[in-house]
Assembly symmetry: C2
Homo-oligomer: 162 residues x 2
DNA sequence: TATTGTTATACTCTATAACTATA
DNA sequence: TATAGTTATAGAGTATAACAATA
């Protein structure tokens, strides 16, 4: 754990008004901190490429992508995959439904559960935003090589563990 | 982008009530999604090892660690390092100050700014929680080797870019 | 005029509890 | 008696605007 003694005990040097880069201390060994800091970048990227342009929140985009890939899926499963509690999911689905992007169809097999399916507009928006994700990811090339990016995703999946 | 056709069009097979594992679709190539999913794990880890035990939120723990490593630091810098807006930081510092963990000392150099310093109780809690972070990180060994973990942190730092 | 930090405020995000309807 | 989903509600997290004190 490297630390830079007490360089700035209320005495910032004239030439460096903001002092040295402060040390992370014990935080440098805390994985969660680095995950959170990386999220600052990815969230900003998402907002700029997709969120603001299509009026979608991160989770809404994820839901669209999962519905695109799985056609019909229950709220239960969506909730499990995205770590959402049932009440939150209900609200999210309400919002997307009001926008005409999806439908809830009562399952004929188990009438308690629903199958969520994209409407035509939903299919279209899913395709558009999936396409918008490509340049978004490409923007990371300045920070990570393709190999590093693939490796990073693999390691993150191990941490997520599912 | 692998997708598993329409295995579950409202017809879950009897033997597998929850159907096959749904595909991630386009999401599997979105770094931000994987970062967010990994965060679910690290947040849960934090809550269990530190948050609940010491009544600290993630950011509060981070502030403690930064103060521990840097002795005196201004809210401005803390805000930059943790991506917090000034009003949020004010509230966080209020809370920690009310708990008797830190003091705001007006800088003699620039009387607009403050130096935040840990009280004795703050130093103690910082040490305790830093120690509690060790077994927390160790718990990740089931998912990542030491080398993988180091590599992951390095890659996350590149994404965070600072 | 610009900067540090604060106050006031509101909006988003997420969680818990209680409920309905099906099984 | 258990499960899928909803409703109601509250708390945590985060943002913007307006302000005070100092530079």
């Amino acid at each position: 754990m490297s630390r830079s003694a007490s360089v700035l005990d209320d005495q910032p040097r004239p030439g460096a008004p903001d002092g040295d880069a402060p040390s992370l201390g014990a935080l440098s060994d805390v994985l969660g901190y680095h995950v959170a800091q990386a999220a600052v970048t990815t969230v900003e990227l998402f907002e700029r490429h997709i969120g603001e342009r299509y009026g979608l929140r991160k989770v809404e985009f994820s839901i669209l992508m999962l519905l695109q890939a799985n056609h019909a899926i229950t709220p239960k499963k969506l909730g499990q995959m995205l770590a959402l509690t049932p009440p939150n999911l209900t609200l999210l689905l309400d919002r997307l439904q009001e926008r005409g992007l999806l439908r809830r169809e009562r399952s004929q097999v188990d009438r308690r559960s629903h199958n969520i399916v994209l409407t035509e507009a939903g299919v279209e928006l899913a395709a558009e935003t999936a396409a918008a994700a490509v340049p978004m990811e490409r923007e990371l090339q300045g920070r990570l090589s393709a190999a590093e990016r693939a490796l990073l995703i693999e390691l993150l999946r191990k941490v997520a563990g599912r």
